[in-house]
């Protein structure tokens, strides 16, 4: 006697992105922690030394957060106006920040009051940074100048007046004490050398530059401005290498992953995109609720921190390895280990006669019902959409689908209709659910109008179908247009390898009985 063969649940292709190593890596973060700041978060900077606190510049304050705290461990509030660009020194002891009131302030991380005030700029200072030998500060301002300051004396060392518009970004070299790069709204990037009095290299970005990033090797520089992210080769004298256009609004912030293999860009279009730095393809994409202004990655990619225009700071921590494994196994408490090994660790002695017990197979609830030919119960006990569709398919194969759908009361019928309206437009399920919906209409035609709940759902179903038909018609139009385009440009072979799922979908819908679809039907069949 053969055993009962359980219903096969087909594995449907997952819609959307393909699972790659990158998606696995970048998806391995916990749900974000959201912290509300007082204003738009313009800058986030990590301390280079452990425990890697980070400074968040928002409105008139700079908050310092610890790696796991949700409350600021410290805050600097002595700004007269909006603060900009709070950055740590390489030893993590000092912090510098510009301000709307043109004064640059230097703080001790443990103190509260500014250690030094650098006055000289005439307009708001948006860029500040320490040079690599730690005793100088570089600043860039809206008065089109950038300056170098000496920390101990609080004196200005040099002024560069080469830009012709606001300087909104800049970065100093980590390897050379004299080099720094600025980006300006005059569309240019300039590399300055403190040993000479003017810029060494000028690169034309083509859009107002919003962010600049140096590679750890400092051979390449990345700039963001407008919708473009551009990569330049400094060793070749500022030759453009790549131009990326993956955002549809201004790119505001750039950041490299800890191993330097991935580049992240944040934009006002509320996306953060991850690029592979070898081929500069987008490998992953994060969505956020508001336009992203600033972005930072913790060392070892332990967390992704994003600041947005609505003042929300979103922090995503990486899942610990145990956590990422035990995602699905925690739902049910299992019987203890003792239950399973009971009697199984008994070693048979030499003369013992072994009686083998057949392994009992467990059937799911719907399979148990199907085995007993309780078809309606089987349909009701299937829960997930894939399972329900598989059970409907199985009932159709057994020729008993009509019986299983019939004889339902208002509640059961509305549940069924709810399921069908929810899943019918999914093209994976449509071939099974459309005949089932047809059958329901046939069976319950006589009772239409008796129950307001069911009627509402039927109207909704009709609505849904009308929408879907319109949608498909539009798609067909587009397809026709594309066909003419392709036919003129691409050799015939390519045309043949187009996917046929769309036309298949259409076919399924045209089969469905609707009053208004006659016209479309003709059109559709011609196109198919």
């Amino acid at each position: 006697m053969a055993s009962f063969k359980p219903t096969k649940i087909p594995i449907y292709p997952k819609l959307g992105e393909k699972v790659t190593q990158d998606t696995v890596y970048w998806k391995n973060y916990k749900a974000p922690v959201q912290i509300k700041e007082f204003g738009a978060v313009t800058n986030i900077h990590f301390s280079p030394v452990a425990p890697h606190n980070y400074a968040v510049t928002a409105f008139t304050r700079i908050h310092i957060y610890g790696p796991f705290s949700q409350e600021p461990v410290k805050s600097f509030t002595r700004f007269k106006d909006t603060a900009y660009c709070g950055r740590y020194r390489s030893d993590g002891q000092l912090l510098v920040a510009g301000c709307e009131d043109s004064v640059v302030r230097l703080f001790d991380v443990s103190g509260k009051v500014a250690l030094r005030m650098f006055k000289g700029h005439t307009k708001a200072v948006h860029v500040t940074d320490f040079t690599s030998e730690r005793y100088h500060i570089f600043t860039g301002s809206d008065d089109y100048t950038c300056r170098l300051w000496d920390i101990p004396n609080a004196t200005e060392l040099n002024t560069y007046q080469e830009h012709t518009d606001y300087i909104r970004c800049g970065v100093t070299s980590k390897l050379n004490r004299d080099l720094f790069i600025t980006g300006s709204y005059d569309h240019t990037l300039k590399l300055f050398d403190a040993r000479v009095d003017k810029s060494v290299i000028t690169m034309d970005h083509g859009q107002p530059v919003e962010s600049v990033l140096l590679y750890p090797s400092e051979g390449l520089v990345v700039s963001a401005g407008g919708r473009y992210v551009k990569v330049w080769d400094l060793l070749k004298g500022g030759q453009p290498l790549v131009s990326l256009k993956n955002h549809h609004k201004t790119v505001t912030s750039l950041c490299l992953s800890s191993n330097g293999q991935r580049l992240l860009s944040a934009s006002l279009d509320r996306h953060v995109k991850v690029y592979n730095t070898t081929n500069f393809r987008v490998v992953h994409n994060f969505d956020y609720a508001a336009s992203v202004l600033s972005l930072a990655l913790a060392p070892d990619d332990e967390s992704i921190i994003v600041g947005m225009t609505n003042g929300v700071l979103s922090i995503k921590h990486r899942k610990s390895p145990e956590e990422s494994k035990e995602v699905s196994h925690q739902q049910r408490r299992r019987p203890s280990y003792r239950v399973f090994v009971k009697g199984k660790n008994y070693m048979p002695k030499q003369d013992d006669y072994l009686v083998s017990k057949p392994v009992r197979e467990y059937l799911t609830k719907y399979d148990k019902h199907l085995k007993k030919f309780n078809i309606s119960k089987a349909l009701d006990s299937a829960l997930k959409p894939e399972v329900t569709v598989a059970v409907i398919k199985e009932l159709d194969r057994r020729g008993t689908l009509k019986n299983a759908l019939a004889g339902r009361d208002e509640k059961a019928l509305s549940e069924l209709l709810h399921f069908i309206t929810k899943n019918m437009v999914d093209f994976r399920f449509a071939p099974v659910l459309v005949p089932a919906a047809n059958m329901i209409l046939d069976i319950y035609r006589s009772v239409i109008g008796q129950s307001p709940v069911v009627d509402r759902q039927l109207l909704y179903l009709q609505d849904l179908l009308q929408k879907e038909i319109n949608y498909q018609q539009e798609l067909l139009d587009v397809l026709g247009m594309l066909d003419t385009l392709f036919a003129s440009s691409v050799p015939r072979k390519e045309l043949l390898s187009q996917p046929h799922s769309d036309s298949f979908m259409l076919f399924v819908y045209f089969k469905f009985k609707t009053k208004n679809s006659k016209e479309i039907k003709k059109k559709g069949e011609r196109n198919i």
């Binding site: 006697m1 053969a2 009962f4 063969k5 194969r397 072979k493 043949l496 089969k511």
Partner: protein, 765 residues
């Protein structure tokens, strides 16, 4: 060492072997043996080992019934459509008695035959007395009751009971239809062994228990209902405590007598139950099924053994194929399965479940069917196509790819592609190249496309799986067949009248060939040295051969080829031509349009499927006409056989020579001549006497039969007789004439083969 024999056609797996095997009632003999009629013979099986112990062979037509002799349980009667009833001692294979009944009944009557007591082997029974006239032809509808007091028989809507003492029949009628529209027609009946009770099965699945039927008016019946369609067999256990019933649901139902609400079930027996039998002591039941199977069941309702022949399906929809690994013949088996049938051992190896769904036994239900299957060159991959529903809009198609698993030694499902095409798949083939790294499968469908499927490399989460590599079409014509060249560098796809040749490496259309008018029916590349030729047949009676080096037609000939296939082990091609209800076979090489071998009227009807199966050991025949069979054997199925039974035909030349076969073969030949059935003569031509002598002298003594047995023949073989020449002439004459006579005899001969190969079983017997 090889004899140059004639080429002949042998039926296999058919009438003589397993097909009819269970169509008759199996009966039990004292729990250890099971007898059943199988084609022209009665087989005795052991109930514990499932082995066939004896073949009781004497009938010359289909055996219709087997019955134990009540007075002696070591003897059994068998009856056959050849008009004889035979009595067997089934333990020592002895045909004791034969009653010849020479009368022909116009319609079925139940007659009582008085068996004359005599010592002769052949007895002609002349005394008949008709008991009941106009009985059902189904033996399940007639039964003796209560130690032979009465006999009950049912036909249509009438139940007739005849009491032997009173010499009086009682007739009971049922109405045509009851209220719900169920049919009341009787299908079978069984009489209670101890009680006055008759159980009848009906068309609508009801079972009625009749009592008090020795009164014309006051009879009663109770109705039991579980089966949803017709009850095909009923049987009481010897003590009468239980009633067994079965039908198309393939569920054995055990009803307690007098407590009918208590039932036991044995579900999922595999196929519709045709007969039920119970052993005399009631310890074992046996059910025979429509798919050529007997299940032996213990009285505790547990299956204890299964005897399975070549599975009889509705039709062979897949091609005949040979599994490159096991060299087994592969074709449709149980519904939704592929069966692997070993040709060498003539035994079913296993059934591979393709559909993997619970089979619902219900008539009129559309089931998934395996319609196409293909193996790759090494047998590592198996591709199957299953489809359901006849309407083209609701067609459900699944393409499944199975990988051979070394550990379990069977095929494991690797990839399922649902709806690979939008319409029915008409052809499918693997790339045969032996050196390439990737395996390519091409499927051709009525939706106007052909698709190439390729094994994608393993990803980090899952193993390798198949995906679509290329979709091809040609001027929106419908493709029909496809074929890969021997080295896998070319793919030919026929689009109605046009043959397109593609390169699988780049999927470029290389060239098109056509020979209008007439759509292409078959397409085949030449093998080995003839691999530059592409052969095609059209439905306008044309066989064309193109040379692919020049892209031009090499030769063509006008013949109505129904099937063309190439032998993968040699250059030869076989073409079956259907003419006037008969099929002719031509074997040729593509390089020359002259047939190597032709055989007129190989069989009746159209040949639908054929395959070349490799030989285990290569023959070294040098005769031109039989040389093409050196590497392989040709198996084919005709349309009539598909509808009625699974017959395969093999063309093989005669048995390999051993000293034993030289001697015994000769002996049987001589006997055959004596018995005036000189058809046997064609089987073996006598080799030169000196060769036989040499062979005899060189063979070790322990493998030879006793000297006394050999002596006379040995001496005779030394004589140069004139008879041999005459005999040869005769043999030649017979090969050209009636083949059907031939067919009936050949199975018998081929069955002698094993005993010729190894002498030990004979000695044991």
């Amino acid at each position: 060492m090889v004899e140059h024999g004639d080429i002949r056609v042998v039926h296999r797996g058919g009438i003589a072997r397993y097909c009819r095997f269970l169509c008759e009632r199996g009966i039990f003999c004292c729990c250890r043996f099971l007898l059943c009629g199988s084609g022209y013979e009665v087989k005795v099986f052991s109930t514990s080992t499932e082995e066939c112990i004896h073949d009781l062979r004497a009938h010359t037509d289909l055996v219709t019934g087997v019955l134990l002799r009540p007075s002696n349980h070591l003897q059994a009667y068998s009856c056959s459509t050849d008009g004889t009833v035979r009595l067997w001692d089934y333990t020592d294979v002895c045909n004791r008695l034969m009653f010849a009944m020479m009368c022909v009944f116009a319609e079925f009557q139940l007659v009582a035959v008085h068996l004359p007591q005599s010592g002769d082997q052949l007895v002609e029974a002349r005394e008949f007395s008709a008991v009941l006239s106009d009985v059902s032809s189904n033996p399940a509808a007639t039964s003796f009751g209560r130690g032979g007091e009465y006999i009950a028989s049912a036909k249509g809507l009438q139940l007739e009971v005849y009491f032997f003492k009173k010499q009086k029949p009682y007739r009971f009628f049922l109405k045509e239809d009851n209220k719900k529209g169920g049919k009341n027609t009787f299908t079978c009946l069984a009489c209670h062994p101890k009680d006055d009770c008759i159980a009848t099965g009906h068309e609508d699945g009801k079972i009625r228990l009749w009592r008090n039927f020795n009164h014309k008016k006051e009879y009663t019946y109770t109705t039991l209902h579980w089966h949803h369609s017709a009850v095909s067999s009923l049987c009481f256990t010897p003590e009468g405590t239980n009633l067994l019933s079965g039908g198309i649901e393939s569920v054995l139902v055990q009803w307690r007598y007098n407590q009918e609400s208590q039932r036991d079930f044995l579900p999922r027996l595999g196929a519709a139950i045709t007969h039920i039998a119970v052993s005399p002591d009631g310890a074992l039941f046996c059910t025979s099924h429509s798919d050529n199977k007997i299940t032996i069941i213990r009285s505790s309702i547990q299956v204890s053994a299964v005897i399975q022949g070549l599975v009889k399906g509705d039709s062979v929809r897949t091609d005949l194929m040979v599994d490159p690994r096991s060299k087994a013949l592969v074709l449709n088996g149980k519904p939704g399965h592929l069966q692997f049938y070993s040709l060498q051992r003539d035994k079913l190896l296993y059934n591979l479940d393709i559909v993997q769904q619970e089979y619902i036994h219900q008539s009129g239900l559309e089931q998934f069917e395996v319609v196409k299957a293909a193996f790759d060159a090494y047998g590592n991959w198996l591709a199957t196509v299953e489809e359901r529903k006849q309407k083209p809009t609701e067609l459900e198609l699944n393409l499944k790819l199975w990988a051979f698993d070394e550990q379990t030694q069977s095929f494991m499902l690797n990839t399922t592609i649902s709806a690979p095409h939008e319409a029915r798949i008409t052809a499918m083939c693997f790339c045969h190249s032996t050196d390439s790294q990737t395996t390519v499968l091409v499927s051709v469908s009525k939706d106007g496309h052909f698709k190439a499927w390729q094994l994608a490399p393993a990803t980090h989460t899952e193993g390798p799986s198949w995906s679509c590599d290329f979709v091809g079409a040609y001027h929106s014509l419908v493709p029909e067949c496809c074929c890969f060249s021997a080295d896998g560098s070319l793919l030919a796809v026929s689009f109605q009248e046009v043959v397109t040749v593609w390169s699988p490496a780049s999927w470029e259309l290389l060239t098109t060939l056509s020979q209008p008018p007439g759509a292409i029916r078959n397409l085949c590349f030449g093998q080995l040295t003839c691999s530059k030729y592409l052969l095609g047949t059209t439905d306008k009676n044309l066989l064309c051969c193109w040379n692919l080096l020049t892209c031009s037609l090499e030769w063509s000939t006008s013949m109505d080829v129904s099937l063309l296939l190439s032998d993968p082990f040699s250059e030869n091609m076989a073409a079956f031509c259907c003419q006037a209800g008969c099929t002719d076979l031509f074997v040729f090489k593509p390089s020359e349009p002259r047939p190597l071998f032709s055989h007129k009227a190989v069989c009746l009807g159209k040949v639908t499927r054929a395959v070349f199966a490799p030989r285990e050991k290569m023959l070294e025949s040098c005769e031109e006409t039989s040389q093409w069979l050196n590497h392989s054997q040709l198996y084919f199925v005709t349309q009539y056989m598909v509808n009625t039974q699974h017959n395969e035909l093999v063309i093989s030349d005669s048995v390999a020579m051993t000293p034993f076969s030289v001697l015994l073969g000769k002996r049987s030949q001589q006997e055959g001549q004596e018995a005036a059935s000189s058809l046997l003569a064609e089987r073996t031509q006598l080799p030169q006497g000196s060769a036989a002598v040499r062979e005899l002298l060189q063979t070790p003594a322990h493998v030879l039969p006793s000297t006394s047995f050999l002596c006379s023949m040995f001496v005779e073989s030394l004589l140069i007789s004139k008879q041999i020449k005459r005999k040869e002439k005769k043999a030649a004459q017979y090969t050209t004439t009636s083949l059907w006579l031939n067919n009936t005899l050949c199975p018998k001969l081929s069955r002698q083969k094993p005993s010729l190969y190894c002498p030990t079983p004979i000695l044991h017997d």
